[in-house]
């Protein structure tokens, strides 16, 4: 019999709150974290807004010297991991530390550190490039740093699959526990890519919203007037455990994770396959992995980026796979409030899924004003909805055609 895997701890750093209670309250009240970028001069940029983390206090968990030697994405991951581990009540000891691991990915890694050192290189030459550049910029360092902080010596790695990174990390960690390679995992995603060059790159792809005069209404997934995604940043971390391991220590179980699907589009570097094929197959794979029926899914936490392409094709894929049931299930995108956290998106959305199951409330898609005939599902428009939810699916699709879907279930004995 395969091992059951449960979620026992949650942690976040997001544009709508730097801890789980604040984050959840913001999602339920429809609060936006999108604001004008004040970290660099955006005069020449078509997009001047992003979902920014504010009032971040890394010194709560990280030594002052260490803060300077961690890129922001790693600081976000470490702080979210501290909240998640504390929340789980998991005591890490010499007896269990070799069986507890860390999977935390980042889509882009330490791009801020890379750039600031590149400026030093150009202005002052190679001898002034920081010896900490490499350990700060590499995308796996959030996973490395969290393991060092907690002394977690089990499986340790960091997937990179652009905007699907966080979901791949959670799914891969789930499978490790399920097959007995670890008893618990700290898993999720982190990102801090709101820097000039990344903003320029995404802008020039025409992927970003330019609704600069109305930041809080810029991210509007599934709305007819959507004009692109809004960059976001932060981290979302879950503590996953083998059910029996969690029960033995009397853990408070928040939800169960029961399905994980992966697929590749094999179509284009950035555009999703036009018929939604990759999305259909990934959701189908997750449902098969969970061993449930299509009609068991009550809610989909959508990838829902607010781009013309994604929202239309994700909707099409849900309709192709679920048929009639597509119109019965609820589907919302919290990116309407947080912006798109890229490699951290799957992490924070995984946290939102667990909270949905635990509290019986679905967070809304905000800024949903004008229906798009091609997006005709129940997107839980603008107001959170009380509703008994048993199975939720979280979708994540990354540039490169990497797709991941997770299924969480309300915990039942």
């Amino acid at each position: 019999m395969t091992r059951r895997v449960v979620v026992t701890g949650l942690g976040v750093v997001t544009p709508v709150g730097n801890d789980v209670p604040t984050f959840w309250e913001s999602l339920l009240s429809g609060k936006s974290g999108i604001r004008e970028i004040d970290r660099f001069d955006t005069t020449d940029y078509p997009t001047k807004i992003a979902g920014l983390v504010t009032d971040f206090q890394p010194e709560r968990y990280i030594d002052k010297k260490e803060i300077r030697h961690m890129d922001l994405f790693t600081q976000y991951a470490v702080c979210a991991a501290h909240e998640a581990v504390e929340h789980s009540g998991l005591q890490i000891t010499d007896e269990n530390r070799d069986r507890i691991g860390v999977y935390i990915g980042s889509g882009i890694g330490g791009i801020g550190t890379t750039l600031s050192n590149y400026r030093v290189l150009l202005e002052r030459g190679p001898k002034r490039v920081s010896p900490f550049l490499v350990p700060m910029m590499i995308s796996d360092m959030a996973a490395g740093q969290v393991s060092i902080d907690f002394g977690l010596r089990g499986p340790n790695s960091a997937p990179v699959s652009a905007c699907a990174t966080g979901s791949h990390a959670i799914g891969d960690a789930f499978k490790l526990i399920q097959r007995g390679a670890a008893d618990a995992m700290v898993a999720g995603g982190a990102e801090a890519a709101v820097v000039d060059i990344a903003l320029a790159g995404f802008s020039n792809m025409k992927a970003l919203s330019t609704r600069n005069d109305d930041p809080t209404r810029a991210s509007r997934p599934f709305d007819k007037d959507r004009d692109g995604f809004v960059m976001g940043e932060g981290a979302g971390i879950l503590v996953l455990e083998d059910l029996e391991f969690a029960q033995r220590r009397g853990a408070n179980i928040l939800a169960e994770i029961v399905g994980y699907g992966m697929s590749g589009d094999a179509y284009h570097v950035t555009a999703p396959a036009p018929d939604g094929d990759g999305a259909v197959r990934v959701m189908s794979a997750a449902i098969a992995d969970a061993g449930i029926e299509l009609t068991d899914i009550d809610y989909i936490n959508a990838h829902g980026t607010s781009t013309e392409f994604n929202d239309r094709i994700e909707t099409l894929a849900v309709k192709r796979l679920f048929g009639e049931h597509a119109y019965k299930l609820a589907m919302s995108s919290i990116k309407s409030m947080t912006g798109h956290l890229l490699g951290a998106a799957g992490g924070v959305e995984g946290v939102a899924c667990v909270l949905t199951l635990k509290n019986g409330i679905i967070p809304p898609t905000t800024n949903y004003e004008t229906p798009d005939p091609e997006c005709d599902l129940d997107y839980v428009p603008n107001t959170a909805r009380k509703c008994d939810v048993r199975y939720v699916m979280s979708n994540s699709f990354g540039f490169g055609g990497h797709n991941a879907a997770l299924i969480f279930k309300k915990y039942e004995q």
Binding site: D63, K64, K127, R128, S130, F132
Partner: protein, 79 residues
């Protein structure tokens, strides 16, 4: 002169290594007493080179083990 150099070195060490001022003595070793790893030491040497406008060769840097070594080196190379 040496006192002034020591104070300036100490200030950088306190800031960079995040240690208490009273731990930074002439006898203190970077590795054991001040908790610096090899990357911290490379970074610290860059800072000192900037602060005192001199260049410390890799060979000389490798010989540095205590705060006193740094102060002596700087005093000898600053004229």
């Amino acid at each position: 002169m040496a006192n002034d150099t020591f104070d300036r070195v100490k200030k950088i060490i306190v800031d960079r290594l995040s240690v208490d001022e009273d731990k930074v003595t002439m006898e203190a070793t970077f590795k054991d007493d001040l908790g610096a790893d090899s990357l911290d030491i490379v970074e610290l040497i860059m800072e000192l080179e900037d602060e005192f406008d001199l260049e410390i060769s890799d060979e000389d840097a490798e010989k540095i083990s205590t705060v006193g070594d740094v102060v002596t080196y700087i005093s000898a190379h600053q004229e």
